[in-house]
């Protein structure tokens, strides 16, 4: 089953990725293959390394071993086709800037040094805001936005990058129901347009509804593949340990009511 080393047919190809902080391994020998055009979820308990995985793929963290390919090439050469939505809490929202300004920042990479954003960029930013339903709030100071609105702005910032593959870190955490619906619809539209969307997802109960592909992660890859095949009781137990006791026989059904696993294990 030796894949040819570069795997241009895979949107994301990770091999033997290992990351550790001092003595503690955070990611261990991760092998991950995600085909193009799927809406993929990465789930696992707190401390499982989900955020670290995304950040390592994006070159924000240096791995101890392993390599990452995006559509067959190293990430550094593929920046233009990669979009990123970090966790909402990674930023101070009291920063003096407006929604449209944040979205425009997504275009800075394209502008390169010295050039300023102009009319063309403004138009692109407005279109992106429109896509997330935030055009009316374009001139709004970001500290005056609700959590859901802020999340949408972050999404728009990634959309404006017009990437082929998107990485998102808990985009639906802490948002209201309406926003969550809007976000998942947006992600589905992206997928339907042939993009690959990889999401660190915080809520087990919605994985089967929202995603077609998934990875169970807990420092190591537990299982990955189409959701229908991978979301099984055995895999849940393997990823979450004994805490799975709360789930009934049919995990697909019971999890609708069960509290989110992450909270219990934290």
């Amino acid at each position: 089953m030796t894949p040819s080393v570069h795997e241009p047919n895979l949107a994301l190809h990770v091999e033997d990725l290992t990351v550790s902080y001092g003595a503690k391994p955070v990611l261990w020998d991760i092998d991950l293959d995600i085909p193009p055009g799927v809406l993929a979820a990465i789930v696992g308990p707190n401390g499982a390394g989900k955020s670290t995985l995304i950040k390592t793929v994006l070159g924000l963290i240096k791995p101890a071993a392993g390599h990452v390919y995006i559509y067959g090439q190293p990430y550094e050469q593929q920046r233009r086709i990669v979009g990123y939505v970090p966790q909402r809490s990674s930023v101070d929202w009291d920063f003096p800037t407006t929604a449209i300004d944040v979205v425009t920042m997504g275009l800075y990479g394209r502008l390169g040094w010295l050039r300023r954003p102009g009319k063309a960029e403004k138009k692109l930013a407005e279109e992106a805001l429109e896509q997330v339903g935030m055009l009316d709030f374009a001139g709004r100071q970001i500290s005056q936005l609700s959590g859901g609105q802020q999340q949408r702005v972050f999404l728009a910032r990634a959309l404006v990058q017009n990437a082929d593959i998107y990485f998102m870190d808990e985009p639906m955490a802490g948002v209201d129901a309406t926003t969550e619906r809007a976000i998942i619809n947006l992600l589905r539209r992206l997928r339907d347009n042939g993009k690959t969307v990889i999401v660190v997802h915080h809520d087990l109960s919605t994985v089967t509804n929202y995603f077609d592909w998934m990875l169970f992660l807990n420092v190591r890859t537990i299982a990955q593949g189409p959701v229908k095949e991978v979301y099984t009781k055995d895999n849940l137990r393997a990823a979450y340990g004994d805490m799975v006791a709360l789930l009934s026989q049919n995990p697909l059904e019971a999890v609708q009511d069960a509290p989110v696993q992450d909270d219990i294990l934290s």
Binding site: M1, T2, V5, D16, D29
Partner: protein, 377 residues
């Protein structure tokens, strides 16, 4: 004899400061000491304007009040949410200090509040102010600093439990009925008092060195609170001693040299601390890297053991490509793993030993409940 007295005063300043500084550092409020030690000038000036004397116990009260005011205003600003905490600190103390200086310019020109002395002090001059005690001439500084040191020590010992919990878990402290806020203000009041008393000797700016640096160095050396205070005090004494002698040898500021020594001790701790030092970290990291590499190798072999392309996978050459290790590194890892008897070589292929397989299984399938042999040390 004078040597000893100077060193003693320095040590007492150091101990008084670092006992309190321990908690400031742990609470991430180190820079408040910077703020306080500058703004108590306002307390001193206002006290002077009230009582029209240049010395006496009232200054301590004035200083304490100025210290409390500084902290209070800083917290107040922060609570409005319009200003972040670090910015608040940097706004309040310069304003108070400026008011103090202007008051001095306007109302106290003729009086000998020597700002330089307040800010720098010079410990070498403690012999200028002496008392007679039991027939001996003892510098006032020595007496006052001894008292302060005793008070600070008493405070820290009496409230040890409360301070400990308030510092590490403020919510728990509140739940237990302690008043962490009040305790914090008490701590900072004592800091102000220490500062004004120590001004004669080391001045405001060098005081900060004693409050922050020895506890920070101790923080790099230990995890236990009482040890942190102990090491902090020892480092203060050491800095005082060494600082004094070096200053004499090089004919430079004694207080300055003492402060420099605290920094030297910190650098030493930063580099050589057996647990947290840079060198220790590198060693741990290197060993961990070795461990990780060996485990990565073992796990890699395990994963591809059953596969059809086993021969290719397990060939040394494939390791280069898949794990991105260059030739030399691959050889090193192989050597170590062979030494550890995790793998063995058969011609062109590598195979796991039973021991290696156990290690790999333990990593890949921990729910199997295999006890992990401590193989890779």
């Amino acid at each position: 004899m004078l040597d000893l007295q100077i060193i003693l005063v320095g040590a007492l300043v150091g101990i008084s400061s670092s006992l309190l500084g321990t908690f400031l550092v742990l609470r991430k409020s180190s820079m408040l000491s910077d703020a306080i030690s500058h703004s108590i000038l306002l307390g001193i000036v206002l006290t002077y304007m009230l009582i029209r004397q240049t010395s006496g116990p009232f200054f301590i009260v004035g200083a304490a009040l100025a210290g409390v005011l500084t902290v209070y205003l800083t917290e107040f600003l922060t609570d409005t949410k319009r200003v972040k905490n670090d910015a608040a600190i940097g706004l309040v103390f310069p304003a108070l200090f400026s008011i103090a200086v202007i008051l001095i310019n306007v109302f106290a020109r003729n009086v000998h509040i020597d700002i330089d002395a307040v800010l720098f002090g010079e410990i070498g001059f403690i012999w200028l102010d002496t008392l007679s005690l039991g027939g001996f001439d003892i510098p006032v500084s020595l007496v006052t600093m001894s008292i302060i040191a005793a008070i600070n020590l008493a405070f820290v010992l009496i409230f040890y439990k409360e301070l400990k919990i308030s510092t590490f878990d403020e919510a728990l402290a509140k739940a237990l009925g302690y008043k962490p806020g009040l305790l914090f203000y008490a701590l900072l009041t004592l800091t102000s008092v220490t500062a004004v008393t120590a001004f004669d000797a080391v001045g405001a700016i060098l005081l900060i060195a004693f409050i922050i640096v020895p506890p920070a160095a101790a923080y790099l050396l230990t995890d236990k609170l009482w040890r942190m205070m102990l090491y902090g005090s020892l480092i203060s004494v050491g800095s005082s001693l060494l600082g004094y002698y070096l200053a004499i040898v090089w004919d430079v500021s004694i207080a300055g040299m003492m402060a420099v020594m605290t920094g030297i001790f910190l650098i030493l701790a930063f580099l050589f601390s057996p647990r947290y030092g840079l060198i220790a970290q590198e060693l741990i990291r290197r060993n961990q890297r070795f461990d990780n590499e060996e485990r990565a190798l073992v796990v890699h072999l395990y994963n591809h053991e059953e596969s059809v392309h086993r021969a290719e996978e397990n060939v040394v050459g494939a390791l280069n490509e898949h794990l991105r290790w260059n030739r030399e590194k691959t050889q090193n890892v192989l050597m170590r793993s062979l030494d550890e008897r995790l793998i063995l070589r058969e011609g062109n292929t590598l195979m796991l030993t039973p021991k290696g397989r156990i290690v790999a299984q333990e990593i890949m399938e921990p729910w199997r409940g295999n006890a992990r042999p401590d193989i890779v040390s």
